[in-house]
Symmetry: C2
Subunit: 120 residues, 2 copies
Amino acid sequence: MGTNGADALSALADPTRRAIFECLARGPKAVGLLAEQLPVSRPAVSQHLRVLKDAGLVTDQADGTRRVYRIDRRGVDAIHAYLDQMWGRALRSFQETAERLAAQEQNGPPEGDRREEERP
Amino acid sequence: MGTNGADALSALADPTRRAIFECLARGPKAVGLLAEQLPVSRPAVSQHLRVLKDAGLVTDQADGTRRVYRIDRRGVDAIHAYLDQMWGRALRSFQETAERLAAQEQNGPPEGDRREEERP
DNA sequence: ACGAACCGTAAGTCTGTACTTACCGACTCT
DNA sequence: AGAGTCGGTAAGTACAGACTTACGGTTCGT
C-alpha cells in the first residue's frame, strides 16, 4: 500500500476519483469544499479520498475540525515508473528480435518465413 | 477515442488487463497464445484486447488466421501527459500561494492567520 | 472443396463497488 | 458546558463490467 503503480492506476480509473484528483491539482482543499463542487455526497468523497490516500496519490492534514487534502507526488511517480518499466521491456524485446532477424539473414535466407513473434 | 489519458488509465485498472499488457510488453503475441498464459478464457482475452485497443494501448495486426497484438506507445504517452498536466497544475498552485503569502507578509503581519487553502 | 485452426461477438450470470442515508466522534467558540 | 461544524464509518442498494458458454466468420492446408 502506498507506492504501488497498480494501486495508483486502479485508483485513478474511477471518473469521480479523477475529478477529485483534478480538483486537488488546482490547489489543496477540505473535504466539504470538495464535495460542494462535485455531483456526489460528502461521504462518497470521503470514501474516494480514502482510496486515493491508500494509493499514495493524496495526503491529508488536520486543520481544526477540517481535513485538508492535497496531491501527493509519490503515487504519480509510481505510475510513471510502472509505465516506463513496461515500455522499456517492449523496447528491449523489439531490439532482441531485430538482432535475431539480422543474425538469421546473415546465415541463410529463410524459407519457411513465419512472422517474428514468440513461440512457447 | 484512442489517445485519451482517462481511457488509458481506466483500461489499465483491471488486473487481468494489466497482466495482458505486461505479457505483451515482453513481446508481441497472438490471442490464443496469450490466453494460454492467463487464468481466463480466450473470449475474455479478446474482450480485454478490445478495451486496450480502444484506449490506444495496443495495436493488432493480422497474420493468416491469427491476430498478433503488440504494445502501442500512444496510450502510454497519453497517461504520461495526463499525469504531467496534473502535477504541473499542482506545482503552479503551490507557487501561487507561496507568492501570495510572501506579498501578504510584506504588507502587514497577518492576524487572523488561517491556513492557506482555497476559499470559494 | 472440406476440415481444421484461430478469433471475434452474443447472450446471460454474478461479483465488485460506487452511492445513498443514518449515525457518531472530534474540534471550536461563546 | 453546550451548540455548531466538520468529517469518517456502517449498512444497504443498485448498477457496471468481468467472465463463461455457444455460435459464426475468415483463413490455411490437403
